[in-house]
Symmetry: C2
Subunit: 117 residues, 2 copies
């Protein structure tokens, strides 16, 4: 992970995990559908906030990953919010095509059969 131009006022509010990352929940802005969760370091958050395109840090590939560059399934940023603890992001987007690499529209593909209250 490289140096970053992330706004220092934002950087001081972030509570990162041991790897320097925070989870980012990606939500379709108009329907409310939760599409996926990715991970961001300071630089990925900076790029997401300033370019209009969602950018993650890939833990498996150890590289920045701008969603859609390979698949075409771009996420256009509508808003980004930090939670009360400073350790989770909510990114509202306009998703082009499916969000999941499986071809499903969102990544939450396995129902675990919870007992409903």
């Amino acid at each position: 992970m490289s140096s970053t131009a992330l706004d220092p006022d934002i950087a001081t509010q972030l509570k990162r995990d041991a790897a320097g990352l925070v989870p980012a929940v990606i939500q379709q802005h108009d329907t409310g559908e939760v599409l996926m969760v990715g991970w961001m370091d300071d630089e990925a958050l900076h790029r997401t906030l300033t370019t209009g395109r969602v950018t993650f840090w890939s833990r498996s590939r150890a590289e920045y990953w701008r969603k859609g560059d390979t698949s075409g399934h771009v996420q256009h940023v509508k808003s980004v919010a930090l939670d009360c603890d400073g350790d989770t992001l909510l990114v509202r987007v306009d998703q082009v095509g499916p969000a999941c690499h499986t071809g499903a529209h969102n990544c939450f593909v396995t129902d675990l059969g919870a007992v409903s209250a």
Copy 2:
């Protein structure tokens, strides 16, 4: 974290972090509002799947935390889904009162001023 009765078929699908946890996105089932993100180990997931009440593992207090036991702001489980990577849960709930300890209805209280696409 104690031993657990989590269904072995589910346990084998989970990809936990170094602390044995997965993030759980909590979403209001009817409005789609993303309320918060908490963390679950196998036992917290087992309790969430079988009791109808959302239960987390508190990283800061190192104990199980059944949402609402202190605040009254209970989360009744509607469904639980695992994502394609097996490393994130989406829990759809019926939230009683505000989800956030600040009194806000959800925890994503700080808008970071993203450039919108």
